[in-house]
Symmetry: C2
Subunit: 739 residues, 2 copies
């Protein structure tokens, strides 16, 4: 019977319960918790039955091993249950008597975050009933088996549920009240995205894709130069102990509302902001200054777990220092760990266009030097970002699939340093209106380089335009291979094609300013630099080719400048120039150059030619990056036969200083997911001609292909890396080990 | 002749000059300044001519009055030059001899922000040359007139230039160097958006539109209830002294990069974040608690200048307290002041859907009371936001025009409390993928109200769905009128039309979850509440109409609950309920209710009927808001004839306390742009039956229609307002005054 008090607050539709200032606050931490009462009495005036009908829960078994195998989560080094959305897992409940579906009412309650608002509509408080009270709205539940006093329940988290760590309670409901189990950490479990399930936002069709983009915990990140590609192995280590908790902690520290955590688009967007420490207390501090003495050099890291675990163990203090490939490596770990397919991308000659006009402006002063105060854009030798794979229900259908996301702090996006996710398909078509940051990514691969020169009066003139320099080549690791895959055509139609022009026109209709600079006079003369890749200490042979395509003899005055270059395009001291003048019909000239001791990290030399055809006063310009091959780092497995699961294995890393100078403050790291946690060895110095050998004992824990990687790094010599791949086999003498 | 040092830094394409952590920092303050050297020598080895050829600048005249008239900025109470983009203004330069276009080289330099990077490519450092060195890239310049030693130069800021305060320098350039004028505040000038110019992003076609949406400094904001609309006048005051500087200060405090300030989309988006103090030190603190004792009550303000000037004068400390119409009023000032056309919108029954699912869920507990912990969405009686008018070059063309922007902190948008700009056309079509926040605004006007009820076991059932309640009516002030304009059809196709269904389907394809709840059984019986608007102290006549459309007699049990309601939907104590049972064929029943002393701000009473048809056990629900008319506030002009420019005018505001209780802590404000700065009078109490009279002397400064407004506010009686419109005429006896 209805009574007036039923309606006391019927129109309290907007009470700002939780705080004073905003209208509504959202739960935004997975680590905060408050729990349910152990006993909750109903407001019943006349008890109808005796209390001794009551049922009690003796124990709850999350069936960790069995469920994790089914959910592709058995690689995680964790004792907890880890499941994926929209796939059934089972829980066994031991009762003090047999369960009766007709008479008993058992309710499983799953809780994430604080209980301030156990709002089942928002997915933070889930109830699943079995027995007579059965009525479930979000997660499916069913009785799988009743065996004696034990009932096994199948639970299916819905396909869009919040991901993170849930707490489990089992309640016995009677007419008088609800009796709950106590909070028990052993019954906590994690729900992840599910790329295996077609209803999940991150569904991936092919098993081989899922194996690479979700399950592979090592990878290769490409760097160097587009015509001389280098690479290094990276320990993503998404299954290492503590990494999953660290990833959730990143979202907690960044106050990502729990409500948003079932949405992969939100998770990667907020992740891209939170993994850099720029403008929030994020995970990693970017540093491109060359001085890394107050932290670890960006080049010295071998993988993500060391960084994420350091962040988590030090109370969410940002980790120093990293650069783009580290940002991308850790982003890859973050996403794969949560179940979102991801891969690391390298874009060679990546523009950083800070005005969003798809023109990278390089301003030369009246003397022809770069005017740093007027040149705000830049071109990186290479830049790394990530792609993540997901449906974009917020966008038209063809923009689902791979999405660019980039956590390196380059520009603020809507107030924070972050970038993406933005559809790769949309970039290719020039459809730049859709969220997030499509214009910025489009510029990274499509900018024109425009050289401006100032005269004495400060007036500017465009002297040269290079439309083909930026976004030369876009690579990622090939699946199930240690080679690269050229994915440039995912981002761009072929240069000069009709489709390319259409995409550019679309981009202009979407706010990219049109290429309105005047066509420049053609010189009819082209210049090109040729160089071989060499090791440090060898002599470099540098060749300048001049091609005269006009019908007249030309006199060309050319200046070749050499300097040491950082991968961001920043240069250190100029060390070499040649001032040449040549009378050319169609001839070739040569020059030799020595280059030591201009060592910087990553050891790139940059040569720039600036020339003038004296007859026509037209300008020519070209540049070339030369990578120096670093000395070798040797990794050896000291055994005969194959490494075996559970059996000790001795590995050694060796290095010889080939230089005539002392290497100081040397860090040597060994890493290998499934084999060893990152090991660090410090040498205060390595004398000229001296060698070091670092031995490590390890015990492989899993079967299959494993990668051991090492990195030696010191201020005078950066990023000397190597990796060794081997197969871990079964020890035929033992049967007690996990396969 | 080229020399090698020309190329020293040629490839320094990415030096992070300004700070260590990020890669590039942007100037983000208009108030920081560093200036140009007074003398800059050129690097010339062999001076070619004698120094006595040199020209000197004696004075620079910004021709403030003339230029401001041409630029529609003469309403601003400021002594500075204020111009609009892409329209020529003139500067007169007095020299020590006559200017020769063939021999002399005079350069005008305009600077905004710090000089760290005088980057003319990014629009913070502009040079305009006249004479022999003429070569201008961004702003056009020409010699308008040469008269004796004075040269008058015409300058045209380009149509997309940064808006804000620029500094002016005049440099004489010779072969030996550049001689500049000193920094002089008198030559500072402001550049604003230009709705008069077709090339400007904010161009508006019709003069009458520009007069209303840019030039009108008073307005009307609608509130109350959709079938009983109230209104109050608002002093936008965008031309008042100091308001323009305060608006620029808001962007400086919010670190909006100067580079973005030429883009109206960015300016309004960042403005919507910065005008609320939620999660940044923005301008206004929202408070819906009912306790405003530590600041000014939201209902007590009469206009924007008082708030903006308080914020600016107190070092950018947030101003307490405001609610949605104040947020919208100040946003309107901010945009109109900068030259962006804007208007205030009121949406009656505005949903606040915090899950973005276009369903507003109201959860009732087992007793039928609102379950506050489970009801996170809310419906406001009304909600105010703004529309701004602009091209959206980032979006397909049909999404230019009016854009919704809302600075009331409701939900975070990409990490900050802000909302929009989002195209009104896109909302109407259900095209919700485009930035910014289209889904949220769509839900505000299109949500379905879904009533859920929990049973004892916590299981939820939908008991009632109301698809027509939310977004009932959308209003704005009609241009050149004091009436309202119904613009609901700008946002929605007619309920039930094919177009409406298509828009909803499009919205669903763009990520709005579909309306998947089951159709509910039709009761065949409808209920309706009728009530007249009354003054406080009068008796309310409330009529419940029950209509039985079935072929059978029904017994209906209904409960009428009354309570005092805030405009946000929050209610205070329930004060009245009636429990009724009626046997109905097609009958009508009546009931009378008394309601004092349940006074809250804005004085709304909310009546809710919840009924059950006993035969079919179907539920019925309806609600009605009744506005109480407050007592009168009288404004009088104490003169015969019309008020005249420059002539003293006495006005008085009178109020009689009609209640039998004391009104305490009474604030009385008088306001009127162009007439008077906000005046505040405080009365510690007004006894029952007592009256107060506040007299103010003012001197009208401008001709034309003026509005004087007053507001009396105290904890027991909120928002007693009135306004008086009169024409200010010319004093025929005086000629020395501005017309």
């Amino acid at each position: 019977m209805l009574t007036p008090r039923h309606f006391e607050h019927i129109m309290s539709l907007g009470q700002p319960w939780e705080h004073q200032h905003g209208r509504i606050s959202l739960d935004n931490s997975n680590s905060h918790e408050s729990n349910l009462l152990e006993y909750e009495a109903f407001d019943v005036l006349s008890p109808r039955g005796p209390l001794d009908e009551g049922l009690s829960v003796l124990s709850v078994d999350m069936r960790v091993a069995e469920n994790r195998k089914d959910h592709y989560t058995d690689n995680f080094k964790s004792s907890s249950l880890i499941v994926r959305r929209n796939k059934e897992f089972t829980i066994s409940i031991k009762l003090d008597r047999a369960f009766s579906a007709e008479q008993d009412d058992v309710q499983l309650e799953f809780l994430i975050g604080e209980l301030l608002s156990p709002n089942d509509n928002k997915g933070t408080y889930i109830t699943v009933s079995i027995g007579k009270g059965k009525h479930n709205r979000h997660w499916k539940g069913r009785v799988v088996e009743i065996q004696g006093n034990e009932v096994t329940v199948g639970i299916t988290p819905n396909a869009s549920c919040i991901i993170g760590r849930f707490r489990t309670f089992v309640a016995i409901v009677t007419d008088f009240g609800r009796q709950r189990t106590q909070r028990n950490q052993d019954t906590d479990f994690y729900v992840l995205f599910n790329p295996w399930d077609p209803a999940d936002q991150v569904y991936m069709d092919k098993e081989e894709d899922r194996q690479e983009y979700v399950m592979n915990d090592v990878g290769i990140i490409y760097n160097g130069e587009y015509n001389n590609i280098s690479s290094r192995s990276w320990n993503f280590g998404q299954f290492e102990e503590g990494v999953l908790d660290a990833c959730l902690m990143v979202m907690d520290a960044g106050k990502v509302p729990l409500l948003f955590r079932g949405n992969a688009t939100e998770v990667v967007r907020q992740g891209s902001a939170l993994l850099n420490a720029q403008d929030d207390k994020g995970v990693m501090v970017g540093n491109w200054s060359g001085d890394y003495s107050s932290g670890t050099a960006p080049t010295a890291w071998t993988g993500s777990p060391e960084i994420l675990l350091k962040y988590a163990s030090e109370g969410c203090e940002p980790v120093s220092f990293v650069q783009c490939w580290v940002f991308a490596g850790v982003m890859n770990t973050f996403t794969r760990c949560l179940g979102i397919p991801a891969r690391v991308i390298t874009n060679f000659f990546s523009a950083h266009d800070n005005t969003g006009n798809v023109k990278t402006d390089i301003v030369l002063d009246k003397d022809g030097k770069i005017d740093r105060s007027r040149t705000k854009d830049s071109v990186w030798n290479y830049h790394c970002w990530n792609e993540v794979y997901m449906k974009r229900p917020d966008l038209p259908e063809n923009f689902s699939g791979w999405q660019v996301v980039d956590c390196t702090p380059q520009e603020t996006s809507d107030g924070l340093y972050r970038c993406g996710p933005t559809s790769v398909n949309a970039i290719k078509e020039g459809e730049l209106s859709y969220p997030f940051d499509a214009k910025f990514v489009f510029a990274e691969i499509n900018s024109d380089l425009i050289y401006h020169k100032a005269d004495k009066l400060g007036n500017m003139k465009i002297i040269y335009v290079d439309t083909a320099y930026v976004g030369k080549l876009i690579l990622t690791k090939k699946k199930d291979s240690s080679r690269y895959e050229d994915i440039t055509s995912n981002y761009k139609y072929p240069e000069g094609s009709l489709k390319e022009r259409e995409a550019m026109q679309m981009a202009e209709r979407r706010g990219v300013s049109s290429r309105d600079y005047l066509p420049l006079a053609e010189a009819g003369v082209t210049i090109e630099l040729q160089a071989d890749t060499i090791k440090m200490g060898e002599n470099l042979k540098l060749t300048l080719n001049i091609k005269n395509q006009t019908s007249q003899t030309c006199i060309i005055s050319a200046i070749i400048t050499g300097c040491v270059a950082y991968y961001t395009g920043v240069t250190s001291t100029t060390f070499k120039f040649e001032n040449k003048s040549a009378t050319v019909e169609a001839s070739t000239s040569e020059s030799d150059t020595s280059y030591m001791p201009y060592l910087v990290e990553q050891s790139n030399l940059l040569f720039v030619v600036y020339g003038q055809v004296e007859e026509s006063e037209t300008s020519l310009s070209t540049m070339r990056v030369v990578n120096l091959h670093p000395p070798e780092l040797t990794i050896k497995v000291n055994m005969t036969g194959s490494p075996m699961v559970g059996k000790e294995l001795m590995v050694s890393v060796e290095f010889l200083n080939p230089y005539n100078f002392i290497l100081q403050k040397v860090n040597l790291r060994i890493d290998g997911p499934g084999l060893i946690l990152t090991k660090l060895k410090y040498y205060s110095q390595i004398l000229p001609g001296a060698s070091v050998k670092y031995k490590v004992l390890l015990i492989p824990r899993f079967l299959g292909k494993k990668v051991l990687m090492a990195c030696l790094d010191c201020p005078l010599l950066r990023q000397v890396t190597n990796q060794l791949e081997f197969e871990v086999v079964k020890d035929e003498n033992r049967n007690d080990l996990k396969e």
